[in-house]
Symmetry: C2
Subunit: 265 residues, 2 copies
DNA sequence: ATAATAGTGTCTCTCAGACAATATCGC
DNA sequence: GCGATATTGTCTGAGAGACACTATTAT
């Protein structure tokens, strides 16, 4: 290791290109509820590899300050940038799922993908066309995937993202991030039922909300949209924006029974 | 984009070094139970940056087939290799936590760290000295960190790894991976109490085990070690190796009450 | 009024935790 | 036997889900 260098000298001499590096991508599963289904935004691949197939929106992390592209300060920033490029809006919720990396998942090189999932309400959205993604489209989720053929190992990324979402829904309030700022409890319950794919008991559900300070009522405000609808009007609630971290419910919903987390059965 | 290339032609022409890339490291929080405490294995840094400080064991992913180092087929392989280089054994449990990446966490370059945590029983261990890590040592966990000063943002990596471990212990059987192959229920209960830092009700704990098929008794076999000990001998159990995935308990242990997941408070 | 939807009251059954009782060991 | 540890038995309170009931709206 030669003589003793100071940290300054060491950093000056350090060559970042001394070793071969993997490519680093950020890929996002952007979810929304549309037509009573959970849907994910996919883009059709315009170039090789997997040309013509669908894939999760994403791209390389921008680490070159002198490059022509906007610089990414962090992984989260890269995810937010990709998300914004694809949808033109910011997501209500964004969370890292996990990282995939091996020698063969991309035929070009050893590639690593940091997978994220994002939640948005479908009304807040304007699909941006152009850029590298030739076409972007919502695809309904069936079970743990989509019917379309996905490139790379994005089928796995998507499956794990859906799993994470479903599991997290049971003990947090993030489902509210799939709805507009203001919503009713029947609407929210409906989102839960779509995500969990089973009936949610009414009383237990409302008790959960009451006992939490995550989802708070807007006293006296009723849902006036969909004026043609019959029946009693529902009270409006909103997702509590303060205390970002405590979107946790005191206890889990549905399926206290076994195999809640089992991968198969 | 020029004329239409076939995928083969495209791949032949593709230049992996066309864009600048971040460095990719794998860092591992290796946990064990020693002296009635949760402990993590740290190495003292021999070179810059953060020379002389402690850090999580780890290193760059080896993606160069022609290099002098062993090639890593995947991220998990890289983690297993680092783990083996450091401890000389394979861990009983290894799980990816999450990935950290930004422009400044390593003064040399934009660096990304994939964080893992590993569980092992302290008896199965032989610390390997040498290589780039000049010194390796167990450090007791207090609250969500260690007393030693850590380089990089490893304090955050460690904190998140501990959080993941503690949270996962409540609904899985991974705590058994901190004990030898065969163990008694009082021993396992003790591990839970060390990890969760609170008393675990005896009857509930044993009911959980009974109802699960994750931890199974070795009928008629008693713990004969520590022969000087008073009192009734405990039955031996083992961690069920088949069905790797279903190390989940039907329900959670302790703290059904609020703030189970809160970050602070 | 009636049907439809929203929201509330109440009962029951299950289960986690408390605590007591029993079993088995070394001495 | 005695103290220590392991294991099992029983009771009770809390809470989730079932279900019936009330409230409010459009037609």
């Amino acid at each position: 290791m030669g003589r003793d260098l100071s940290e300054q000298e060491f950093l000056k001499k350090f060559d970042p290109e001394q070793y071969k590096k993997p490519a680093v991508m950020v890929d996002i599963s952007i979810f929304t509820i549309k037509d009573d289904r959970l849907q994910v935004l996919l883009v059709r691949r315009g170039g090789h590899p997997f040309k013509g197939m669908w894939s999760l929106p994403g791209g390389a992390v921008h680490v070159d300050r002198s490059g022509k592209y906007s610089f990414d300060e962090s992984l989260d920033d890269a995810a937010k940038r990709e998300l914004y490029e694809e949808t033109g809006v910011e997501a209500r919720y964004l969370e890292q799922v996990m990282t995939y990396g091996d020698a063969t998942r991309d035929p070009r090189q050893w590639t690593l993908s940091v997978s994220y999932f994002a939640l948005m309400d479908s009304s807040s959205l304007m699909l941006q066309h152009g850029s590298d993604a030739s076409e972007a489209k919502w695809h309904a989720i069936h079970d743990y995937g989509v019917r379309a053929k996905l490139g790379f190992d994005h089928k796995d990324l998507l499956k794990d993202a859906i799993r994470r979402l479903r599991s997290k829904v049971e003990y947090t309030a993030i489902a509210a991030c799939l709805l507009p700022q203001m919503f009713t409890l029947p609407q929210l319950k409906h989102v839960y039922e779509i995500l969990l794919q089973e009936a949610v008991p009414n009383k237990s559900f409302r008790r959960r909300i009451e006992d939490s300070d995550i989802i708070v009522p807007l006293p006296g405000q009723y849902d006036e949209s969909d004026s043609g609808k019959k029946g009693r009007k529902a009270l409006l609630y909103r997702y509590n924006p303060k205390k970002e971290q405590s979107l946790f419910f005191p206890r889990s919903i549905v399926r206290a029974e076994a195999e809640r987390h089992g991968t198969k059965k």
